[in-house]
Amino acid sequence: MIRLRRLVLAAALASALSAASAVDILHRERSLYQTILITEDRNRICMQFSVREQQRNQSCFNPRRPKRMVFTYTRMMMGALLLEPEPVNVLIAGLGGGTLPTALHDLLPEAHIDNVEIDPAVVAAARRYFGFATDERQVVHVRDARVFVKRAATADVRYDLVMLDAFGGDYIPEHLMTLEFLEEVRAVMADGGVLAANTFATSRLYDHESETYRAAFGMFFNLRLRESNNRVILARNGPLPDKAELRANAAAWRGRLRAYDVPIREFPARLSLGVDWDVTRRPLTDQYAPANLLRGD
C-alpha cells in the first residue's frame, strides 16, 4: 500500500516536472533563409531560427501579458527613447516576432513604422503567433535591409529612429555590418536621428563591430546589462545628449514603459561612452567583412 502510494506520488511528480519543462512545437517551417521553429511552453511562445531545439530564441512573448518584453535585449533597444523621446518616422530592420514594432506602435500614436524583413515566412509567423498586426502606420517590406536603405536614401526618406535587429540563425548578415552600410543608414537618419543596434557582447567580433560603428558615427553609447549577453549600441546623427537630458527622458517615459517591463530609469547610469574594445582592430567594410569567420574565434 505504501509502495503503491509512493509510486503514484513519483508518477505525479514526474508528470508535473515534465509539464513544467514541456515545450510544444507549434510550427516548424523550412523557409527560404532558415528553419523557423515556433515553440510554446507554459507561459510563452517563442520563435527560433535553427534546426536544433534549445537554441537561442529570437523572440518570445507571453500571451497572458502580451506587452511584457521577455528578453533583456528588447528592453535595452527601447533605450533609444532616451536619445529621441518622440520619434515620428521609425525604421526597424529585422522583424522577428514583431515585439519592438508592436510596442512602438502602441507607445507612439503619431509614429509611422517601416519594418524590413527578408523572410516572408517570418512575417507570416509574427502575424499568426505573436499578435503582430499591420496598418497604415505599421508597414512591412519584405526585402533585404541593405537594398531598402539604399532605395530610401535615393528617395530622400529620413528616419528619426532606426533599429537594427536583423539576425539570421547565426548572427547579423555580413553586408549589414559594414562601414558602408552604416554610412548608408546614417544617410537616411534625420538630423539628431538615433540608431539602436542589437549586437552580441561576446566574441572577437565585438572589437571589429565597435570600431566600425565608431568610424561611422564617432562616439556612441554602449548599453550593457549584467543579465544579458547582448550589447546595444545607441548612436546619433549629431551630438549625444548629456546625462541630465537622458535622465529627464527616462523620467518622462518611465510610467508608460512599466507595462513593458522596461527599466528605463536604470539605463542612463548604464550608458557608457567608454572604449572597452581593442581599437587596433580594423573596421568591417564591404571589401573586408569575414564577420562570421571572425566570430568563431
Binding site: I118, R146, H175, E180, Q287
Partner: protein
C-alpha cells in the same frame, strides 16, 4: 640523337604538366570568382536567395558558351602558345572588374528597381566575359593533350578531374581563408595575376617547344 631524345621527353612532360596546371587554375579562378560574386553584389542587391540564383545562372550560362567557343577554337591549329593566350585574355578581362564593379552596379541599381533582375543584369555585366573565356580552357586543353582517339575519354576525364578539383579548392580557399586575410579586390587582382602569369608561362614554353629542332 642520343642526347636529344630525353630532352624532348622532358619538354613533353613539362607541356602536359603545364596544361593540367592551367586547367586547375582555370577551375580554381572560376569558383573563387563565383563565390566573391555574392559578396560583390550584396551591398547593392542584398543577400536574398535570388542574388545567388542570378550569379549561378550567369556563371553556368557563361561556362556553357565558353565550352562551345573553346571547342571551336581548338579546331584551328591548336598550340600551347594560343592556350596561354586564352588565359592571358581572361586575366585582362577580369582585372577591370575591380574598378568597374561599383559604377556598374550603381548604374544597374538606378535603372532596375526589382533586385532580382538588378542582380541578374549586374552579374551579366560583371561576370559573363571573364567566365566565358575561362570556360574555353577545358575543351581546348583536351585537344592539346589527346594524341589518339582511344585515349580521348581518359584525357578528358583526367582534365575534368583536375579542373573540378581546382574549382573545389578555389571555393574552399576563398570562403574559408582568403576573405579572412584579404580584401575582395585584392583576391580578384591576385586571380587575374595568377592567370596572366600562367598564361605567359604557357606562351613562353609553347614558343620554346615549338622551336624547330
Amino acid at each position: 640523337m642520343a642526347t636529344r631524345a630525353p630532352s624532348r621527353a622532358t619538354g613533353l612532360n613539362a607541356r602536359v604538366v603545364l596544361v593540367y596546371a592551367l586547367a586547375f587554375c582555370g577551375g580554381f579562378s572560376i569558383m573563387s570568382l563565383e563565390l566573391l560574386g555574392g559578396r560583390i553584389l550584396a551591398p547593392w542587391f542584398g543577400g536574398s536567395i535570388y542574388v545567388w540564383g542570378s550569379i549561378i545562372t550567369v556563371f553556368m550560362l557563361a561556362l556553357s558558351l565558353g565550352y562551345l567557343i573553346g571547342g571551336r577554337l581548338s579546331l584551328r591549329a591548336p598550340t600551347l602558345t594560343k592556350f596561354g593566350g586564352i588565359l592571358a585574355v581572361a586575366a585582362v578581362i577580369l582585372y577591370p572588374t575591380v574598378h568597374l564593379a561599383e559604377p556598374a552596379m550603381m548604374w544597374v541599381f538606378e535603372r532596375i528597381e526589382d533586385p532580382r533582375y538588378g542582380s541578374l543584369v549586374a552579374s551579366l555585366v560583371l561576370f559573363v566575359a571573364p567566365t566565358v573565356v575561362l570556360g574555353a580552357i577545358s575543351p581546348y586543353s583536351v585537344r592539346l593533350l589527346v594524341r589518339q582517339r582511344e585515349e580521348s575519354g581518359k584525357v578528358a576525364g583526367s582534365l575534368y578531374f583536375v579542373s573540378t578539383l581546382g574549382s573545389a579548392l578555389g571555393t574552399l580557399a576563398t570562403s574559408f581563408y582568403f576573405v579572412l586575410w584579404f580584401e575582395i579586390d585584392t583576391i580578384v587582382t591576385c586571380l587575374a595575376g595568377l592567370l596572366l602569369g600562367l598564361g605567359a608561362l604557357a606562351v613562353a614554353v609553347g614558343f620554346k617547344t615549338q622551336a624547330p629542332a
